[in-house]
């Protein structure tokens, strides 16, 4: 896992989903929850959301913007974008490796 996300424990996956959501632009809490559920298919609880937001903010990966009414939007920082890119690149290499191996196995099985 990329540096900056390795010590998030069980909040690592929700944190990545939040970073991906914010990579589109600033969002407030409820909009992040809705976007994460729509893109990943996994619901994000409000407790988990704010536990992850706190961790990401403390590590400088996201930052709060001035509150609009009672909603406070968050946005990705430069460090957050770099960290997310590194993590997604790592995942992409992992996925590619998996697909290549899976395709190789399938060809071998059809050739046998």
């Amino acid at each position: 896992m990329a540096a900056g996300l390795s010590d998030l424990g069980r909040f690592a996956e929700p944190s990545i989903a939040i970073l991906v959501s914010l990579s589109e632009g600033p969002k407030h809490g409820y909009a992040i929850m809705a976007d994460v559920e729509a893109t990943s298919g996994q619901p994000l609880g409000p407790g988990t959301l704010y536990a992850a937001l706190g961790r990401l903010e403390r590590r400088g990966l996201i930052e709060p913007l001035p509150a609009e009414d009672r909603r406070r939007p968050y946005r990705l920082t430069g460090l957050g974008a770099t960290t997310l890119r590194a993590h997604l690149d790592h995942l992409e290499r992992f996925v590619q490796t998996g697909l290549v191996r899976l395709n190789g196995t399938a060809k071998a099985a059809s050739g046998a």
């Binding site: 010590d7 407030h28 809490g29 409820y30 929850m33 619901p43 609880g45 409000p46 407790g47 988990t48 959301l49 704010y50 536990a51 937001l53 706190g54 961790r55 903010e57 403390r58 009672r70 909603r71 406070r72």
Partner: protein, 270 residues
Amino acid sequence: MAASPRALTILAPILLRLYPRGWRARYERELLTVLEEGALTPSATLDIALAALDAHLNGDYPSGASEDRKVRRPMLDRLAPLAIVLGGVFLTFFAIAVVVGDATSLPEDDPVVTVLFYVVPFAIGLLALGISGVSVTSLGHDRVARGLGLLTAALGLGLATAITYLFFVSDIGWDIIGLLIPSFALASGLLGLRLLANGSRARAQGLLLIGGLIAAGAWVVGAVMTANSSRVSVADQAAAIETLGFGILFVAWVLVGLLELRGKPVVAAT
């Protein structure tokens, strides 16, 4: 299934009260807004309760305004110094009482005296180190320090339970405790060594917990002397060495606790 407005009015404030004050100062209004937008479902209620527990144990959220800094430290972190001081004072008193006084003259048949001189000091002292171990475990980002903190906590809490149980229920358990005590001291010593290698804040605690290693050494010396001699005088010396070893460890706990109370965190900041 979202909660009704009435349920939201009743339940949301209760849920938010579960969080530490520092957390609430920073996020309460935002989370309440999210809940009002329809996020308060039964599973969300459980999710919030678990997240509130996490906030107490880990305190991994940004500090808000300056007045929030004092209350941002999690509950365990605030409890640890008090527990360490109390436990250290009790056990230091016990160690001195055994060395200076004649422990064998204590009226051990009197259950009140027995509890006062043996069970209460040990239970409080071991619980103190257990709590400090949990504190290190929950807050440290260093995996080895967290592991050693967990070990110290487990031994401290386990030993406190075992002593309390065995003292009242059984008269044959002291051999088991004899094995656990040096293990416990060794764990705190190893934790001290690890903390010495960490940042400057952790070094003070590391230095003090090295007393754990000294205590373990003194305990082993005393135990060997007791086992190899049938002479009472040597056994008495052995008992004194054992007690001295524990005295060092207990004084170390008191000093760690006092440093914590003076606002120089050595337990939490690993």
